[in-house]
């Protein structure tokens, strides 16, 4: 990894020229900060709205005394229930994806069988397919099975993308671990899976955490599936927001507060897995 970059100042330049370039670098930082503020402005606007008193929502005054009124109002509107649904669905689907996906990823990383490439490709393809192609069959099947508007239905649907993420990401992490340690464990009489459990898996713990967090984020953020496959019981937080938009007569502070609640866990988690984010988002396609 070279930290030095193509536009950096060669150290051999005379002092005055280096000073000029240093100034230019500060210019660059200043510009970057300005652009950042500009880019985040729409987002920050929503954030400040969430803390306004309800009567003050439409005001453009930047000075106001922040209040948690809107959040309290959300609580009364049973938003907590949708929030709980979101948590439950995301945790369950993440857990199930790891349970099924991690062993599969390990097998794919260590076992050279003939159809390996095709299997990997098939797993990756699920990332590309448009959700509508899944929702129609799932909707019809769920209507028949009585799974519409149920938490388990959503958990099942989220497996379509989470399983692919787990298999794809974990495969990469396993391949980065040398096999020598496992082989030593085998020689000591460990079975393949006990060597995996005691030797390999602990080594990939950071990767495992990152993968779990990404699964959580993707399940948490889904809007499309939840909109179509839930009605009242299993409504998740993103869908509940839209219901605010439709029925609550534009209580903007509340809507902004709900948005803030929904993005909070995602923002926190993102800081944790920043490094692996692109990995997860580009799952498929570029990987050979």
């Amino acid at each position: 990894m070279h930290a030095e970059t193509w536009h950096n100042v060669p150290p051999s330049l005379p002092l005055w020229q280096r000073a000029v370039q240093g100034a230019q670098r500060h210019l660059r930082s200043t510009a970057a900060v300005l652009v950042l503020v500009l880019v985040l402005l729409p987002f920050l606007w929503m954030l400040q709205m969430a803390f306004r008193p309800a009567g003050d929502a439409l005001s453009l005054d930047l000075v106001f005394s922040p209040t948690l009124e809107a959040f309290a109002g959300l609580w009364q509107d049973n938003f907590a229930r949708s929030f709980g649904n979101s948590l439950l669905v995301s945790v369950l689907s993440t857990g199930l994806s790891l349970l099924l996906g991690v062993p599969a990823a390990y097998a794919l990383s260590r076992w050279r069988f003939k159809q390996r490439r095709q299997v990997a490709l098939w797993v990756l393809c699920t990332r590309m397919a448009p959700p509508i192609a899944f929702t129609i069959p799932f909707f019809l099947a769920f209507r028949w099975l009585g799974l519409l508007d149920s938490v388990w239905g959503l958990v099942l649907v989220y497996l379509t993308f989470n399983l692919a993420i787990v298999i794809w990401m974990m495969q990469g992490f396993f391949e980065a671990i040398p096999t020598a340690l496992e082989e030593a464990a085998w020689m000591d009489g460990c079975s393949i899976w006990s060597a995996f459990w005691h030797v390999t898996l602990p080594l990939t713990r950071p990767g495992l955490v990152a993968t779990a967090v990404l699964c959580f984020i993707f399940s948490w953020s889904d809007f499309f599936f939840a909109l179509i496959l839930t009605r009242t019981q299993a409504v998740t937080a993103p869908v509940a927001i839209v219901n605010f938009l439709q029925y609550d007569g534009w209580e903007w502070t509340k809507i902004a507060a709900a948005g803030t609640m929904v993005m909070l866990p995602v923002l926190l988690f993102t800081v944790l897995v920043r490094k692996y984010l692109v990995h997860g988002l580009t799952a498929g396609g570029v990987k050979d």
Partner: protein, 328 residues
């Protein structure tokens, strides 16, 4: 490098020991045994995931295609297994002006959106590329739009585009240039969506380009600078060629994803005004879930799948040729 010779041959190569310790089998037989044993173990690990994956991807796909061959709708449950006119839905698609319009809207949204995302992402990557601590720290904050749940992005822009409460509209009014809601105006609605979409997704290109910029070798750049090339020339003739493939892969990725755009459309314009922002995905959604024409909606989904399949094949071909690792 640790000794990984056994990676390709399976662990059998240098591991005859598991059975040999018992002193009963010849090494060759043990090797075979171990191979069989490991294959069984790996198979057991892989099987549950593949079975579940088949159930939740292949079955729906087959169902989708089968349903697309029937006139299944809410009003006509008897049509479930009606295959009298298997290509009826597809024939109808070709004559459905609203569907054809939706393809055109999709083309406009995707092409302009992806192009702008590339430009903005590339520009910001170049701005943020450097070894200063501050710049490195700022990068993270630029990722916010991309990681926000899509519904929150839609909400943010709903606020921006709603004149009563929008700081944008307030500013424009103050400058003596009041405009009516951008998303209610047929001339601007699609471009308002594109703007929000670009805001959400430029960080993707930015991230990928930043990763690639770190791999640009120093030597040719230094050589060019010594030969008197200015910054612009270095960028165009040396850096840009290194970024070329990354940019193409980014574009294809975003193109594929742009076919799935939903929350922005649903919350901001709901396909309107009229049908000016109704993309193919949205039209399929309406046919299936608003009008309950599942057969017809499925046919639309199948067409989209076909388009995406072609694009994905392109991506994976490009990915394969990339000698260096994919962007991380």
């Amino acid at each position: 490098m640790p000794p990984t010779a056994s990676l390709d041959a399976g662990p059998a190569g240098d591991l005859p020991l598991a059975g040999e310790a018992k002193g009963k089998r010849t090494p060759a037989a043990t090797t075979l045994n171990w191979q069989r044993e490991s294959a069984r173990a790996y198979g057991l690990g892989l099987a549950p995931a593949l079975v579940v994956l088949a159930a939740i991807t292949l079955l729906p796909l087959i169902t989708l295609v089968v349903v697309s061959l029937t006139p299944l709708s809410l009003t006509d449950p008897a049509a479930t297994f009606h295959f009298g006119q298997p290509t009826g839905n597809y024939a109808q698609l070709l004559q459905d002006q609203r569907f054809l319009d939706s393809l055109w809207v999709q083309a406009k949204l995707s092409s302009v959106g992806v192009l702008l995302q590339l430009l903005v992402g590339l520009g910001l990557a170049l701005l943020l590329h450097g070894e200063s601590r501050l710049l490195a720290g700022l990068r993270t904050f630029f990722l916010i739009p991309m990681v926000l749940p899509p519904i929150v992005v839609a909400l943010v822009w709903k606020i921006i585009y709603t004149p009563d409460i929008s700081p944008l509209h307030a500013l424009l009014e103050q400058w003596g240039w009041p405009v009516r809601s951008l998303i209610a105006n047929p001339d601007t609605a699609l471009w308002a969506i594109v703007a929000a979409d670009v805001w959400q997704w430029f960080p993707f290109t930015m991230l990928m380009v930043l990763a690639q910029l770190q791999m640009v070798p120093r030597d040719p750049v230094d050589a060019a600078r010594i030969d008197g090339a200015n910054r612009w020339q270095v960028f165009v003739y040396i850096v840009l060629p290194y970024l070329q493939r990354t940019l193409v892969v980014c574009a294809l990725f975003r193109l594929i994803d742009s076919f799935k755009a939903f929350p922005l459309l649903y919350v901001l314009t709901n396909g309107g005004p009229g049908t000016v922002t109704e993309v193919t995905n949205f039209y399929g959604f309406i046919q299936a879930f608003n009008f309950s024409y599942w057969g017809y909606g499925s046919a639309i989904a199948v067409v989209m799948l076909a388009i995406i399949f072609v694009l994905s094949a392109l991506v994976s071909r490009l990915g394969k040729n990339r000698g260096d690792a994919h962007a991380r």
